[in-house]
Symmetry: C2
Subunit: 315 residues, 2 copies
Amino acid sequence: MPPTLNEIREAAKRIKPYAHRTPVLTNESLNRLVNAQVYLKCENFQKVGAFKFRGACNAVFSLSDEEASYGVSTHSSGNHAQALALAAKLRGVPAYIVMPENAPKVKKEAVAGYGGRITYCKPTLEARESTLAHIAQETGSTVIHPYDNERVIAGQGTAALELLEDVPDLDVMIAPVGGGGLLSGTAIASTEMKKGIRVIAGEPEMADDAFRAMKAGEIIPSVNPQTIADGLLTSLGRITFPIIQGHVEQIVTVSESAIIESMKFVWERAKIVIEPSAAVAIGVLWEKKIDLSGSKVGLILSGGNVDLEKLPWQL
Amino acid sequence: MPPTLNEIREAAKRIKPYAHRTPVLTNESLNRLVNAQVYLKCENFQKVGAFKFRGACNAVFSLSDEEASYGVSTHSSGNHAQALALAAKLRGVPAYIVMPENAPKVKKEAVAGYGGRITYCKPTLEARESTLAHIAQETGSTVIHPYDNERVIAGQGTAALELLEDVPDLDVMIAPVGGGGLLSGTAIASTEMKKGIRVIAGEPEMADDAFRAMKAGEIIPSVNPQTIADGLLTSLGRITFPIIQGHVEQIVTVSESAIIESMKFVWERAKIVIEPSAAVAIGVLWEKKIDLSGSKVGLILSGGNVDLEKLPWQL
């Protein structure tokens, strides 16, 4: 069952003591560029540097005391792993994180820094899933999927909820899409809170499974996608796909060069650090495939975790 | 005469329709690092990307209609030139900017983009000053010095004024020092608004004229200083020096490596883009030369104009 607006409101209450209510920024250069009023919801300022903390936090704090006592687990090498580790730490329970042995050192250290208990496995999806299944059985921990999980989706929806509380008369809401957790929560919160709002997603052209799934009417998994938006490599899930099908007007594909230019533009003009996956949402404006002139546009900047030694415009 | 708190309050009213009231951010990693509560006043989000717009705007809008009609002028290759050009544009009067012919293309374009009328000169202080004197006489424009000007100082003081309105119980206020315009305004606003507040400045070790002036009791101009904090190359002026002498507890010198590490830390943890000159204020915390533990610390992040192609940790 997809979460309701009411469940997103409950999630907002549940995570309030732990998550930041992130600021909403505006930028005149960006407004001029698209001839619209754009409101940036800055999840790059969220705990662990990404919206992922909202969903992980809601999932962990939704568990009963008994469930929670056995801990939580997942396989991830990205922001979800850090988010789950921190949420579990805040609840005082263990987080078991399965990571591929070739994950970047900085990500391993970040998860360990938040107290996550890491098990390494071979870098294949099969190894990740079987290792996780084994650990979950051994520990009795609750597996928290990074996006195909109702409580995670409800948590991610709180970003759009806050944005619409701050700017109620938005005409359009834009979010990036990878596995679809953020987009699903955003779509439910937006369409329930504001009648007639247009929900639009940005997706890397090089990882366009959601774009193709919408056309085909069925999930079409990406096969080994290559994009600098490394938070958007995953494909839609059984729970997120129908929500997106029912609530999202359009998926706009964004080229790699538009992602890089959008990212640099935001750094230079808005003076904030966003990651390539967040720039994909800005890329929707950049591509100019849809007419937004005169609109009030909400846009979820999903995160700000980047390697400052390797910036994409310098590669 | 140094500006009074009242003049800073008037400046705040004067620039309110044009300048951003910039947000105040906090960051847990930074707080943990220094064992204090640090409040970052984000002038990197200010118009033209730096606090300089406050002073320029106050100076331009303080002129009588007749004075203003002849325009304003200055010599600068940095943020002050852009700030003055934009302020003049907003008042609908010309800004005559003298720039050295070897100024970076990006800075020339920025000034021209704000409508500044540029005159190029040889890259020496003598050529800059004589060219400016000639232009001021020819046009009848009012010369606005980048820092040694009471109205500019009053304008720069509005950043600290706003910060103390938002967080009234600060124990310490930190700002970077170059020519001393920002520090002077900050010092007056802070000490007048909050009895007993400690005003501390950060200065690059490689351009430490203010540090040496405070020891010597007289202005000691820097000779060809070399630091990546290119907004802090100038020396204290006749107006700023006595204000700083009378109101600032201490100048903390900051090494080049501390500037770079501070800058990278803020980008990585606080997810905001700051320029090296702003990082000099963070460098005061980094150097750990003064004990701030348990204090509430206000800190002016002076600006965010950097060349994203040439980041100091990659040089």
